[in-house]
């Protein structure tokens, strides 16, 4: 039953994603991509939750690596997206001095 419930969530989210993303103008496709990329670093949540104190050594190594890579993805992804979006300015906002 759990599987059915999760699949339900999955299917609805896919539809929601299609609705949301198709409204993003092509001007913003690069920030969209790096921003959604950062969201895909959500795996970090899973890696954190599964890195338990009583894990076996191999699992600790795998878990720490997973946390590291996912953190790069999350932190780097949001930072670079913010850096890009900062540059999108309109003239009256002082975009072109």
């Amino acid at each position: 039953m759990e599987a059915v419930f999760l699949t339900f969530v999955f299917v609805l989210s896919i539809f929601l994603g299609f609705e949301l993303i198709s409204k993003v103008p092509s001007t913003l496709h690069t920030p969209l991509m790096s921003g959604s990329n950062a969201i895909s670093g959500i795996t970090m949540i899973g890696s954190l939750a599964s890195l338990k104190a009583d894990n076996m050594t191999v699992a600790v190594i795998l878990g720490t690596l997973a946390v590291t890579f996912a953190t790069i993805n999350v932190v780097g992804g949001y930072a670079v997206t913010n850096r890009m979006l900062e540059m999108f300015k309109k003239k009256d906002e002082g975009g072109a001095k």
Partner: protein, 459 residues
């Protein structure tokens, strides 16, 4: 479910809401930055509440988070805007490998899995692995650390098919009896990594925007699968949003190149030089000097710049913006018409122009400018070639026939900046250069524009 788990899961619902609002605010450049911050806030919330889980190994979490944050921040602030595709590919790959490692760690810790969990563990590891190695190859090609041309060998499809089949068979064996299939799991990891490599090497540099979009989608789906493995809704919701986003972008890129996804993935476009443009070009090339171009521009009421990746290669964004400013001061309406595949990834050219201080309301999409092209006085084509080639509309024998283009040839005058008469990326001769309303302005893009700026300033 104890009260702590309940609290954590409620916080996840809020996080999911923030992701959704964040993406919604990306629908306009005016709100996009706040949207990204909302999304980041959602992520922060999710991370913080996750730390409230009982029995976590905080020491190693801290190690991972610190190392990851430092690397991520340095990379994000050091990267050049022109290198954005490489950066996204790299981050993407890291997301993929994290999903693989997560699935592996979970399986290592609890090898007794139900068939369903075993299946999603396989998917998480397999998609994550492909995402990682595929993204690394894409990164290598984009950063020119390896040849960007398609690498083709005979029987490639058979090899790829065999690898995929091997993966599926191992997946089934694994799912049937996960507890005693550790070796099989390792085989799956290796096969996934291998498949990422073999499926991306036959794709040429020009098609990388499609590949990055697709890998972006995979990284989301890998996170989704990981969410099924650890029974976590937030991973599924966020992963699905990213998966959908990647699929939409892939589709847009394919349409902009007038090719099916299958064609991009399997045809090895750009591996062989086509005997293209066999039809003899009629008309003649009419070169123009900086002074000629200056007079044309000065008299124009509306000018549309059509930038291609050559503009970024020549680092001419800033001088183009300067020229645009001068034209506006002269009473000319200036816009920048951007083809969806103008850069090395979707929307790349927009970012490069925004970096050069071009106001975002001057950035115009192909579908918006084409209907009013007849009323544009001058189109200035800089470093773009195939995306303005009228053969895509007229010449059925052309390999790019059917590809949507920016129809600059319908403008009153077209000025094409070009280094020489060599054909473009796809090796196709451009009929636009021979049109009666076209003037060729030869030279390095940056130096040529600088010459025009100088003409305006001395006037």
């Amino acid at each position: 479910m104890n009260s702590m788990t309940l609290f954590i899961n409620f916080a996840y619902v809020i996080s999911a809401g923030l992701f959704i609002f964040g993406l919604k605010m990306l629908s306009s450049p005016a709100t996009a930055r706040r949207g990204n911050m909302l999304s980041a806030l959602g992520m922060l919330l999710a991370i913080v509440v996750t730390l409230f889980n009982a029995g976590l190994d905080y020491k190693w979490i801290l190690v991972g988070v610190i190392i990851g944050s430092v690397i991520g921040l340095v990379a994000a602030y050091k990267v050049q805007m022109t290198s954005m595709p490489e950066m996204v590919a790299l981050f993407n790959g890291f997301g993929g490998i994290a999903s693989l490692l997560l699935a592996w760690g979970e399986y290592h810790q609890h090898p007794e899995l139900s068939v369903f969990i075993a299946l999603v563990t396989f998917l998480s590891a397999f998609i994550g692995g492909i995402t990682f190695s595929g993204s690394m190859i894409a990164f290598g090609k984009l950063a020119e650390m390896m040849p960007s041309k398609a690498i083709i060998f005979s029987g490639q499809h058979i090899v790829n098919g065999a690898i995929l089949l091997a993966a599926l068979i191992s997946g089934v064996i694994f799912a049937m009896n996960p507890a005693s299939s550790y070796a099989i799991f390792l085989v799956i990891v290796v096969v996934a990594l291998l498949f990422g490599v073999t499926s991306v090497i036959p794709i040429g540099g020009a098609d990388m925007p499609v590949v990055i979009s697709l890998l972006n989608s995979y990284s989301g789906l890998a996170a989704c699968a990981a969410g099924f493995v650890i029974n976590n809704n937030i991973l599924i919701v966020a992963g699905a949003l990213v998966g959908a986003s990647g699929i939409i972008l892939t589709n847009i890129m394919c349409k902009a190149m007038n090719r099916s996804l299958a064609n991009v993935l399997f045809s090895g476009f750009g591996a062989t030089t086509q005997a293209a443009g066999s039809a003899e070009q009629e008309g003649e090339i009419k070169p123009a000097t900086a002074e000629d171009v200056f007079y044309i521009l000065e008299a124009a009421d509306s000018v549309a710049f059509v930038p291609g990746y050559g503009l970024a290669v020549a680092q001419a964004q800033h001088v183009v913006q300067e020229l645009g400013e001068l034209l506006e001061a002269n009473g000319t309406e200036v816009s920048y018409a951007i083809h969806p595949v103008a850069g090395r990834m979707p929307g790349h050219m927009n970012v490069l122009l925004a970096e050069a201080n071009v106001s975002y309301d001057q950035l115009v999409e192909m579908d918006d400018i084409n209907p009013r092209m007849d009323s544009i006085d001058v189109c200035v084509v800089i470093g773009a070639n195939d995306v303005v080639n009228p053969a895509a509309l007229e010449d059925e024998s052309s390999p790019i026939y059917g590809m949507p283009i920016i129809e600059t040839h319908r403008a009153k005058t077209v000025i094409v900046l070009k280094r020489s008469m060599n054909p473009g990326f796809a090796g196709i001769q451009n009929a636009l250069f021979f049109y009666p309303n076209t003037r060729m302005y030869f030279g390095d893009a940056k130096a040529s524009i600088q010459a025009l700026v100088a003409e305006f300033k001395s006037d």
